[in-house]
């Protein structure tokens, strides 16, 4: 593959941010098909339109997901990218790697692919970018036999679950996100690799309401750590913050002079429920009123910690706009025990109840959040056998259009019009 002139892309080698163009050129030294990636992208920069054909169904035997087919619409000009399929590899929970493992993946990709990757794709997989159909089976063989790795999900299946780094390096994780993510990824390998759903389904696991993995915005089944007892307070550390001995928010604002730390202004007045106050130099929290937003804990990590009775809130049905519009996940289960001993029985039971229902009533390409909107939250709660509580809504309905069932109304709905007319003239 020859080198192409890329005057437009060359402009993106300037500036302080790492340049993907320089990186592609570096890789092209050993993987010349990267010259053709650069050439085709340069053509897109000139034409201001993509040069990839629509889709293409390729995969490995026995899997319906994990490989995304891609073909160039200018293959004669750029034969190196004529076939340029993507391989999704399930990432280890928390995205920790050993260099040994990474190098093995690099060597495999050197052998069978273009040498370009995404670390990581938006869902969380390691994405190997660009290979040909004949390479797929040998690549998969070596991936599973030699690297002990497997493909992730694509298409109308369970997508590769993802989590924040959880208890590994975060003081706020209310459950072990990595353990739950790893368990469910293995538990549902069949659902990940063999599409059987109306559309994609995503799990994401965040350890606390800061939600670093964007579960509430991006996953059909969002498990977000929380607690139900009191925020732990170290009053000595509170005083330390007030005196300016510790930086607020862990030093997140160090680059600008925001003035002296003011606990009233920066913590107490910003509490969404107004459940905190000072008594002398002692911080008081009325925990019954707390909605666990994390702000005070974020600002004073040395003084405040989540409570000890920990679990997770489960919210259902987030998605990006396609098809009916973007949705956040709806709070469905306020507090669930995340219990490894029982193999996460409470979580598994809820997942499977959703799937059983959604696989039956969901329309083609309808995410579960859209199915929920279509049938309404009352119906969904009934399906999930969840007692409706005020926490399920931001506010009660403001219209009077109530569905009553006959069984709920005294005397039922069967009435005799003639009997009615005997007492009420027409």
């Amino acid at each position: 593959m020859p080198k192409h002139d890329t005057p437009l892309l060359d402009e993106l080698e300037k500036g302080p941010w790492p340049s993907f163009v320089s990186d592609l050129k570096r890789q092209a030294e050993t993987k010349p098909e990267c010259f053709d990636i650069l050439g085709q992208v340069e053509l897109s920069y000139k034409d201001r339109i993509t040069h990839w054909k629509h889709g293409g169904i390729v995969g490995v035997f026995g899997y319906g997901g994990g490989i995304v087919g891609r073909y160039s619409d200018v293959p004669k000009q750029f034969p190196g990218v004529a076939h340029f399929h993507t391989v999704r590899i399930a990432q280890p929970s928390g995205m920790y790697y050993s260099t040994e493992k990474l190098r093995a993946i690099c060597d495999l990709w050197q052998k069978y692919g273009s040498g370009m990757t995404n670390m990581h794709g938006s869902t969380g997989d390691m994405v190997l970018l660009g290979t040909t159909t004949p390479n797929l089976e040998p690549l998969f063989y070596e991936l599973t036999h030699d690297l002990n790795q497997d493909l992730g999900g694509s298409g109308s299946n369970l997508r590769t679950p993802a989590c924040c780094l959880g208890k590994s390096r975060c003081e706020w994780a209310c459950y072990d996100t990595q353990a739950l993510c790893h368990f469910l990824t293995n538990h549902y390998q069949d659902e990940i690799h063999r599409p059987a759903f109306p559309y994609k389904f995503k799990f994401k696991f965040s350890g606390c309401p800061n939600d670093c993995v964007a579960a509430i915005a991006r996953s059909d089944f969002a498990v977000i750590g929380t607690w139900r007892d009191d925020i732990r307070i170290d009053q000595a550390a509170v005083k330390g913050y007030i005196k300016g001995e510790y930086p607020s928010n862990g030093g997140a604002h160090a680059g600008r002079d925001w003035g002296k730390f003011d606990i009233q202004k920066e913590v107490i007045d910003l509490c969404p429920t107004g459940c905190m106050w000072m008594e002398g130099d002692t911080l008081k929290i009325d925990n019954k009123e707390c909605t666990r937003c994390m702000h005070c804990i974020n600002v004073m990590p040395r003084a405040l910690r989540p409570g000890l009775e920990q679990g997770a809130t489960i919210c259902i049905g987030a998605k990006a706009p396609i098809l009916d519009g973007a949705q956040f996940a709806t709070m469905t289960f306020p507090f669930v025990n995340i219990d490894a001993e029982s193999e996460y029985e409470e979580v598994v039971e809820k997942i499977e109840k959703i799937w059983d229902w959604w696989m039956e009533v969901g329309k083609n390409r309808e995410r579960v959040g859209e199915t929920m909107q279509r049938v309404g939250l009352p119906t969904f709660l009934k399906v999930m056998e969840v007692e409706p509580i005020p926490q399920h809504v931001r506010e009660p309905r403001s219209n009077p259009y109530i569905f009553w069932e006959e069984s709920e109304v005294e005397g039922g709905w069967e009435r005799d019009i003639r009997e009615f007319r005997a007492r009420h003239a027409q």
């Binding site: 990267c34 800061n210 519009g325």
Partner: protein
């Protein structure tokens, strides 16, 4: 015994899932798993996590393109071998984290990173602009309305000082999606850069019968703009096809996703919309969607100057006016969106008035508003 193409199903291993994460944890992480007390940011890009045991984990966070080569990964491995016991991790925003177990090991690591040119910018902690989460764009996607990597590079070049410092009122999450599929949390970001189409799909009557299941293409349209129709192909034959009611089309590209014979991408039609004020965290206020403030900016390659300028203007106006801890959307809601448009100087257009489903929720049903320059 390797792969045998004659017997592909022999000795097959499937459904093994990812390797267990525990084997990849650095020793200090493994030892103190679940026993962390607090963290502090020692300087931009450098975190210190303190454990109950007194141990410390020092993390150096560096930016990276999401699109990276195996050569670059090998260089990351080289650094991790040299300084971090051969352990490294990625964040959910495509940053790379190098972890060491004492403060003394931080400076040599920083010096090493600095010696490698601009490949490993240190930052993305606290009140900064972290790495831009983005999609494939023209590098690998079949439905994009803009590129991803190039726009991100151009924007991050301009916002670079905000990545390496902590001068903002709060963290600012920037995200880019190259079409409305939004393969990234673009719908809930402080500043969202979104590729959009503006021309309805063309219909390839020569190809549609062989390529598409017409009912799926018809059902794909959220607004019922795609209807079955008998059309004539280039050979003069009558074929079963579809027609598009252009005035009902909102250019979402769903029909093209289902039917390759309905392309809608176009050099002039496509471009970028800017949405702002979204957030994911539950901190202080509930999660918010990003709101559309600029309906269209052209795809001016290779550096998208209009998009870069728009993002920078929004960021710096917010930085100047917002209060400490206030996310962009919280600031805009406090001062009112009319004030947001006035302060940023962004012209308010009718495209920012919602006319899709649930639009009524966004209409103002109150006499409370501010008199800004918009009221003549």
């Amino acid at each position: 015994m390797g792969y045998d193409p004659q017997n592909p199903m022999v000795d097959r291993i499937t459904d093994i899932g990812p390797p267990h994460y525990e084997q990849f944890l650095p020793p200090v992480i493994k030892k103190n798993f679940g026993k962390w007390l607090y963290h502090e940011i020692a300087q931009p890009g450098v975190l210190m996590h303190k454990a109950e045991s007194g141990d410390e984990c020092w993390t150096v966070r560096v930016g990276a393109a999401r699109l990276i080569s195996i050569e670059h990964i090998r260089e990351i491995c080289e650094i991790a071998d040299k300084h971090c016991n051969g352990c490294v991790r990625w964040t959910t925003r495509n940053n790379v984290e190098f972890m060491v177990d004492s403060k003394a090991k931080v400076q040599p690591l920083l010096d090493d990173l600095k010696s490698r040119g601009n490949k490993f910018p240190v930052g993305a902690t606290g009140a900064s602009v972290s790495n831009i989460v983005h999609t494939q764009g023209w590098v690998h996607c079949h439905t994009p309305a803009t590129d991803a990597s190039g726009v991100v590079k151009a924007v991050m070049d301009e916002l670079f000082d905000y990545f390496t410092s902590m001068t903002l009122p709060a963290q600012v999450r920037v995200a880019l999606a190259c079409c409305l599929n939004m393969c990234g949390a673009v719908h809930a970001s402080d500043i969202a850069i979104l590729g959009i189409h503006r021309k309805p799909p063309m219909i390839d009557h020569d190809a549609i019968s062989g390529l598409c299941e017409l009912p799926l293409a018809i059902a794909a349209c959220p607004l019922g703009a795609v209807k079955p129709a008998k059309e004539t192909n280039s050979k003069g034959e009558e074929v079963k096809s579809v027609k598009v009611t252009a005035e009902r089309c909102m250019f979402c590209g769903n029909c093209y996703t289902m039917c390759p014979a309905m392309p809608l991408a176009d050099p002039e039609g496509d471009g970028i919309a800017i949405l702002v004020g979204g957030k994911v965290s539950n901190s202080r206020s509930m999660p918010k969607f990003s709101k559309l403030v600029i309906p269209f900016l052209p795809n001016n390659t290779p550096r998208w100057p209009e998009t870069v300028a728009a993002v920078k203007n929004i960021l710096e106006t917010y930085a100047k006016h917002a209060r400490k801890y206030e996310r962009l959307g919280e600031w805009a809601e406090r001062i009112g969106w009319e004030k947001f448009f006035e302060l940023t100087g962004i012209p308010f257009t009718i495209k920012s008035v919602d006319d899709y489903r649930l639009a009524y929720d966004t209409w103002r049903t109150s006499t409370q508003f501010k008199f800004t320059s918009h009221i003549k």
